[in-house]
Amino acid sequence: MILGASAAVSAQTPSYKNVGRSPSKQEISAWDLAIGPSGKELPPGSGTAKTGAGIYASKCVSCHGANLEGTATGPHLVGGQGTMSTLQPVRTIGSYWPFATTIWDYINRAMPHGRGGSLSADEVYALTAFLLFRNGIISETDVMDAKSLPKVQMPNRNGFVPARLEDISNMEKRGCRGGHCP
C-alpha cells in the first residue's frame, strides 16, 4: 500500500466542486522558498565570500560577532571540527551541516533574525559563500550560484546514517525498531 501510494494518487481527478482555486504563477513564486539538496529551485544570481564579508559586517555581525564566534543574541557560525565524537559535539556549518543548499535556504527564509526574506538572491549567495569560506570549505574567490552551490562537498556529508537520501524513509531497511535506529 505504501509504495504504490503515489501512483494511486495521480490517477485521481478532483471530486469537490469549487473548493479552493488555482494560484497564479506569482502567488506560487512569492512563497516557493524551499531549496532542496539538488538545488533546482535556486534562483539566478551569484556571490563570493569577498562581497559576502561586507554584507555580513553590516547585517549579521551584531548578533554573530566579528569572528563569527557568536554573541549574546546569536549563535557561533564557525568551529566545532573534530568534536562530533566527543561528549560536547558542536554543530556548525563546518562541522556538521550536510548540504550547502541548506545554508542558502535558511539565510534566505530566516536571517537576519526577525527580518527573514529581506535579502536579495545575490546577497544570499554572497553570505553563503562567506560562511562556506570562513568554515574552510571553499576559497575566498569561488563564485556561488545555482550551479556551483549544490556541488559544494560539505565536510560532514558522510556523517549520517543512512547515507543515501533514498533510504531515509525506509525505517525497516534501516534496522530501526521500537523507535530506535541503531
Binding site: 494518487v9 524551499a34 561528549l87 554543530r91 541548506t102 526577525g114 537520501l165 530501526c176
Partner: protein
Amino acid sequence: MASNSSARRRFLKSTFAIAGLAATKQSATGQAPRAAPKDLRTYGERSRFESAGRKGSLGLWPPAAGPIRDYGIRTPLQNSVGMLTPASLHFVLSHGYDPPDIDPHEHRLLIHGMVDRPLIFTLEDLQRLPSVSRLHFLECHGNSATSGPTGALRIAPTATVQETHGLTSCSEWSGVLLSVLLREAGVQKGASWLVAEGSDRIKHTKSIPLNKAMEDVLVAYGQNGEPLRPEQGYPLRLVVPGWQGISNVKWLRRIKVVDEPYMAMMESTRYPSVRPDGKSRWFESEMGPKSVITRPSGGQKLPGPGFYEITGLAWSGGGAIRRVEVSSDGGRTWKDARLQGPVASKAHTRFGLDWNWDGSEVVLQSRCTDEKGVVQPTIAEVAKIWGVKMDYFQMTSTIDIGNFNAIQPWKITRDGGVHNALL
C-alpha cells in the same frame, strides 16, 4: 527542541536577561494591555482553586519578553486525568518563538510542486471538505531524553513527571485528511516526498515522505472541540500521527510535493541524534512505545500505607496500545493494568492498577506493548541498541539523542516520598 550546545544555552540566557530589561522599560511607559472583564458564561474558566500549569524546560520561567524563549513548555502530567490534555495545558515547542498573530480570514494554504492542479485554500474552503476527528498524541523527539540541555534536570532524583515526560500531550484533532487535498491536486508520477512550511518567524520547514502523508496525516483546524490555540498553530497545522513533534508543522501555509527530502535546517542540522562514534541518525520519525506512571510520580507524597490506584499513560507511534504492565517490585514481577477506553491508535491511553502500599520502600514502573507487539525497553536494552554503556546516560554532555523510550521507575521511600529512579 533538544538541540543546544552549552554556548547556545549561554547566549539564550543572556538574551533573556536583555529582553527582560526591555520589557520592564516598556511597562514603565504605561503600555500594559488592558484586560477585558471576563464573562464566564460566555467562555468558561477553571475553578480558582486549581493551579496546574505548564512549565519551561530550562528553568527560564516565567519567560522574559523577547524573540527567543524557553524551548519546551511542558504539560503537568502529574495532574492529568483521562487521556486528553486540555488545549491550555498542551506542551508547546516552537523553538522559543512566539506564535504569529494570524487572521484566519487572511490565512491561505498553498499546495503545489509535482501536482497536476496547484491549489490554494482558505480556511473556509477547508471547512467545506469532509472532516475527520482523530485522537492523537504529539511528542517532542527529545521528550524524556537523558541528554542535551535538560539532561541534568531529567535524571535528578527530584524530577517530576512534568520534567521527565512533559513534552507529550494528547488531543482530539479535527480537520481534513491531507490525502484528500493531495488527491484534489493530483500528485504526479515520481513524487515521493512533500515539504511542509509554516508561517512563523523562521518559516519552519519539514520534509515528510508521501506514503506517510497519504496514510494518516491531518491538516487540522480544531483541537478538543474548538479552533486550535495560537501556540498550537492557529489557524491551521499538520498532525503527523506517531511521528516526532517537529513534523507537525504549525501555522501551516504551504505544502510542496517533491521527489527528495529537502534537508531543511531543523531536520538536517538540529534534529539528528548524534551517536558516540560521531555519526548521526536522521529522520528517526516514528516514536516508539512509551509509558509512564503519573500517579504516584516524582515529587508527590503518599500520606501513608493503604489503597492507591497506580495510574499513568501509554502511547506508541506504531499504533494502538495493546497491553500495559505494572511492577511494584523493581521489575521482578509484572501485573496487567486496566486500559481505560477508548484505546485509540497513536494516542495516549490511560491505564490503572489497584495497589495496596504496605509502607515499605518500593519501586513502581510500567511498560507497554503496542499493536505491532513492540515492547517498551528497559534502559539497559536501549543502551544495547545504541551500543553504549549505562554510564553514558549519566554523562553531562551536549549530545542530543531523540526517541528515548526506556521504562521509568519511581521509588517510594518509607516516608511516602516519590523519587525519580531512572539511574
